[in-house]
C-alpha cells in the first residue's frame, strides 16, 4: 500500500512539473507578443484569421500574435473579464453592442491619435469611416457589415407553384404556408424564437413603418414616438407571428442562430432570414446543392419599403495595452488591402473597402441581392438601431422572452408591443 502511495506521489510531482512548465510564459525574450481575442468565433472564421495573422507576423518580424477564440456564447463576458483584469489583452473584437459598456468603463483605447494620418482611411467606404470615427473617439475599425437577406430554396418555391421568391412579408407568409408539410419533414420558415429572436420581428415592424422611420434611431418614428406604438406595428407583428403559427417547425420556438442555419442547410426549411456570412455555411451543406438555393433582398412592408438595420463589429485596442504601436499595426493590417478583402470574402461580410464595388465577386450568385439592395437605397433604407446603449443586452433578453411568450400563447402581440413601447419610453426619459 505504501508503495502505491509513493508511486502516486511521484506521479503527482511529475504532473505538477509538467503543468507548470506547460503554461505559456507571456512575451518572448526580445520580441513582442500581442494577445488578440475574437468574439463571434466560428471554426472557419478562426482559420481565416489565423492565416491573416501569419501574414502579419511574416511582414513584422519580432511581433507575434496569440489569438484567443472563446466560444461565442461566453466570449463577450470573457473579453469583459480580461479587460477588467487589465492583463493579457491587446487587440480585441469590439461589437456595436459592446462598445457602449466597454467605453463606459474606460477599457478601450481611443485610436484617433494612433491612426492620425493613416493612409487606409482613404480606401474605406463612407459608412465604415462613419462607424469608426464616433463622436467621442475611434474605438474600433469595422471589419465589415452585416445585413439581412432572404435565403430561399428555389426548388421548393417552384414546386409550390410560385414564380419567384417573396418580396414582401405577406408573400413570405403565403409561400411559406404553402410549402409547409410537417409529415414530409418540410417546413416553410426557419423561425427565430430563441436568442435574439426579437431582431427579425423588429425588422418586420420597421418595414411596416418605413415611411415614418427615424433613420438615425430606428426604434423611433419621425414624430419622436417609439415604433412599437405605431398602428402598423400590430399588423407587422401579427403577420410575423402567423409565420410561426402556419409555416414554421414547432421546435423553432427555441431556435437561435445555429439551429436556424442548420434548419436551412439540412434542407428542412425553405426560407431563412440571415446575414451574408451564412452564404459560406450554406455553401458547404451536403444536404442542399448550390442550384437549389439563392438569396433575395430583404422583405418589404405594405408600402414597398424595407429597413436594413446596420450591424457591425471590428478591431479595437484595450486601454491597458503596453504594445500600442504593434497593436496599431495589426489593426491597420487587418483593416486594409488584401487582408480586409480576404476576411470579408471568406466570411461573406459586406466589405468596408470601396474597391469592392468593382469586384465581380460581390455581384454574383448569392451576393446579387445585396447589390440590388445597395442600388436601391430608397427602397431598402439603411437605418441605425440604438445597439450601443448600456441596456441593449437587458433589452434583448426581455424582448426575446416576450417573443417566446407570444408564440407559446402567454401574451398577445398587442401586449408585447405595449410593453416594448413602455420600456423604451421609460429608458429614453431616464437617459
Amino acid at each position: 500500500m505504501t508503495k502505491t502511495l509513493r508511486l502516486l506521489g511521484a506521479g503527482l510531482v511529475t504532473a505538477l512539473l509538467v503543468t507548470s512548465c506547460g503554461s505559456s510564459a507571456g512575451s518572448s525574450d526580445d520580441g513582442v507578443e500581442l494577445k488578440m481575442v475574437e468574439s463571434l468565433t466560428n471554426p472557419a472564421r478562426t482559420a481565416v484569421l489565423k492565416g491573416l495573422i501569419e501574414d502579419f507576423e511574416a511582414a513584422n518580424p519580432g511581433t507575434t500574435v496569440d489569438l484567443i477564440s472563446p466560444p461565442t456564447n461566453s466570449a463577450d463576458q470573457k473579453i469583459q473579464q480580461m479587460l477588467q483584469s487589465k492583463k493579457g489583452i491587446d487587440v480585441l473584437e469590439v461589437r456595436d453592442t459592446t462598445v457602449g459598456p466597454f467605453t463606459a468603463n474606460g477599457w478601450l483605447r481611443d485610436l484617433a491619435p494612433d491612426l492620425k494620418g493613416w493612409a487606409g482611411w482613404a480606401d474605406m467606404t463612407q459608412q465604415a469611416v462613419d462607424y469608426a470615427q464616433g463622436e467621442d473617439g475611434t474605438w474600433y475599425i469595422p471589419y465589415g457589415f452585416y445585413g439581412l437577406s432572404l435565403f430561399y430554396r428555389k426548388d421548393l418555391v417552384e414546386k409550390a407553384g410560385f414564380a419567384g421568391p417573396p418580396a414582401s412579408w405577406d408573400e413570405l407568409l403565403q409561400q411559406a404556408s404553402a410549402i409547409q408539410d410537417p409529415d414530409a419533414g418540410t417546413y416553410g420558415y426557419a423561425f427565430r424564437g430563441g436568442t435574439n429572436g426579437n431582431g427579425n420581428l423588429v425588422t418586420a415592424i420597421e418595414a411596416y413603418v418605413a415611411d415614418d422611420l427615424d433613420k438615425a434611431n430606428a426604434f423611433k418614428t419621425t414624430d419622436g414616438k417609439s415604433i412599437f406604438a405605431a398602428p402598423e406595428a400590430l399588423t407587422a407583428a401579427q403577420t410575423y407571428f402567423d409565420l410561426f403559427e402556419k409555416a414554421s417547425p414547432p421546435s423553432s420556438v427555441a431556435w437561435g442562430y445555429p439551429e436556424m442555419v442548420e434548419g436551412f442547410s439540412n434542407g428542412s426549411t425553405a426560407f431563412l432570414l440571415q446575414d451574408p456570412e451564412v452564404i459560406a455555411t450554406v455553401g458547404q451543406s451536403t444536404a442542399i446543392k448550390p442550384d437549389q438555393w439563392g438569396t433575395a433582398p430583404l422583405l418589404v412592408g405594405p408600402t414597398g419599403k424595407a429597413a436594413q438595420p446596420v450591424a457591425t463589429a471590428g478591431w479595437g485596442m484595450s486601454a491597458s495595452t503596453e504594445h500600442a504601436a504593434e497593436a496599431t499595426k495589426l489593426i491597420e493590417f487587418l483593416s486594409s488591402g488584401e487582408a480586409s478583402t480576404t476576411f470579408t470574402k471568406e466570411n461573406s461580410l459586406v466589405p468596408i473597402l470601396t474597391s469592392a464595388a468593382s469586384d465581380p465577386y460581390y455581384s454574383e450568385g448569392p451576393w446579387a441581392s445585396y447589390v440590388t439592395m445597395t442600388n436601391a437605397p430608397d427602397t431598402y433604407l439603411s437605418v441605425i438601431q440604438p445597439r450601443n446603449v448600456d441596456w441593449w443586452t437587458e433589452w434583448t433578453q426581455k424582448a426575446d422572452g416576450d417573443v417566446q411568450r407570444v408564440i407559446t400563447g402567454d401574451m398577445t402581440p398587442a401586449e408585447l408591443l405595449a410593453g416594448w413601447d413602455a420600456y423604451w419610453v421609460e429608458k429614453w426619459a431616464a437617459a
Binding site: V37, P70, P71, K78, Q84, S85, E262, T286, A287
Partner: protein, 278 residues
C-alpha cells in the same frame, strides 16, 4: 435479503431492473449510433436504429477539426492531479475532524457545508481577477488549484465518516510502536479504508472531469482547454454539428464509465463503511 422471494416479486424485480437497465443505457446507445452515422444520415427520416453504413467519419472529423487529443490529455491531467491532491488533503482534515474534539470544529464543518449552498456563479468574476493577479489565468495549474479547493469540503466530510468507523485503537497501537501520527495514519488506517478512499477519489475525479463553468471562465487558449469547455465551444460555435458532437460525447463518457464500471464494487463497499454515520 433473507426473505424467500415469491414468484410475482421475482417477476417484478427482474422486469423493473431490466427496464431500468434499458432506460439507463439507451441514451448512451443512441449517442453512439448517432456518432457512427454518416453526416447526411443523421437527419434522414425515418430514423434508423441500427445504421446500415457505420462510419468513423465523425471521429476523424472531430480530431481533424479540433485538438481533441489535447483536450482529452488536459482533462485527464487536471482531473487526476486535482482529485489526487484533494483526496490526500481531505484525508488529513477528515482525520482530524473525526478523531479530535475542539471548539471551532462545528464552525469549520458548517463553513465546509456552506460552500455547497452558494451558487458558484457569483464567484466567477472575482475568481478571474484574483487568478490574474496570481498569474494563474489560462493555466492548467491554476485550474487544478481551484478544483482542489472545490473538491475538499465534500471530500473531507465524506472521509470523516469513514474514519469514524475505523477503531482508533488501531493507530494508537501503531503510535505506541513508535509511529508518528502521520505515519500511523498512512501505514495503518489508510490501507483499512482503501475502498472509502477510492470512492472519494472517484467522486473528486468525476467532479473535475465534468466541471464546466470554472474552466470556461479561467481558460482562454485552445491548448489549455478541457473536454467540457471544448464541447461548450462546439455547441455555441456557429453550426451545431451533431455528428462530431456525438463523437465527442462518446469519447467523454466512455473513460468515466469504464472507471465507474471497474470501481463500482469499491465505491459501494467504501460508502457502506461510512454509511451509518453519514
Amino acid at each position: 435479503m433473507i426473505f424467500r422471494e415469491t414468484v410475482p416479486a421475482r417477476v417484478t424485480r427482474v422486469a423493473f431492473l431490466g427496464l431500468w437497465l434499458v432506460i439507463t443505457l439507451f441514451p448512451l446507445y443512441w449517442i453512439t449510433v448517432t456518432s457512427l452515422k454518416a453526416p447526411g444520415d443523421i437527419f434522414s427520416q425515418p430514423l434508423t436504429y441500427w445504421p446500415t453504413a457505420l462510419t468513423l467519419e465523425n471521429y476523424a472529423g472531430l480530431f481533424a477539426q479540433s485538438d481533441f487529443g489535447v483536450f482529452v490529455a488536459n482533462s485527464l491531467l487536471v482531473s487526476l492531479v486535482g482529485a489526487t491532491v484533494a483526496t490526500l488533503i481531505s484525508l488529513l482534515s477528515g482525520y482530524v475532524l473525526a478523531r479530535f474534539e475542539f471548539r471551532s470544529k462545528g464552525v469549520l464543518l458548517a463553513a465546509f457545508f456552506v460552500t455547497q449552498m452558494v451558487p458558484s456563479f457569483i464567484a466567477l468574476g472575482p475568481l478571474y481577477l484574483m487568478m490574474t493577479k496570481l498569474g494563474l489565468v489560462d493555466s492548467r495549474l491554476g485550474l487544478i488549484l481551484v478544483y482542489i479547493g472545490i473538491c475538499i469540503p465534500f471530500c473531507t466530510v465524506m472521509l470523516r465518516g469513514f474514519f469514524a468507523n475505523v477503531p482508533d485503537a488501531l493507530e494508537e497501537a501503531a503510535m505506541i510502536d513508535g509511529c508518528s501520527r502521520l505515519g500511523a495514519l498512512f501505514r495503518v488506517i489508510v490501507p483499512v479504508m482503501m475502498p472509502g478512499i477510492i470512492a472519494s477519489f472517484i467522486f473528486n475525479f468525476v467532479n473535475c472531469w465534468n466541471e464546466l463553468f470554472l474552466s470556461v471562465t479561467l481558460i482562454n487558449s485552445t491548448e489549455n482547454q478541457t473536454i467540457p469547455t471544448a464541447i461548450n465551444g462546439f455547441i455555441s460555435s456557429f453550426n451545431v454539428e451533431w455528428g462530431p458532437m456525438a463523437a465527442a460525447a462518446v469519447l467523454t463518457v466512455v473513460p468515466t464509465m469504464l472507471l465507474f464500471a471497474v470501481a463500482s464494487r469499491w465505491i459501494v463497499q467504501g460508502l457502506t463503511a461510512g454509511a451509518v454515520k453519514g
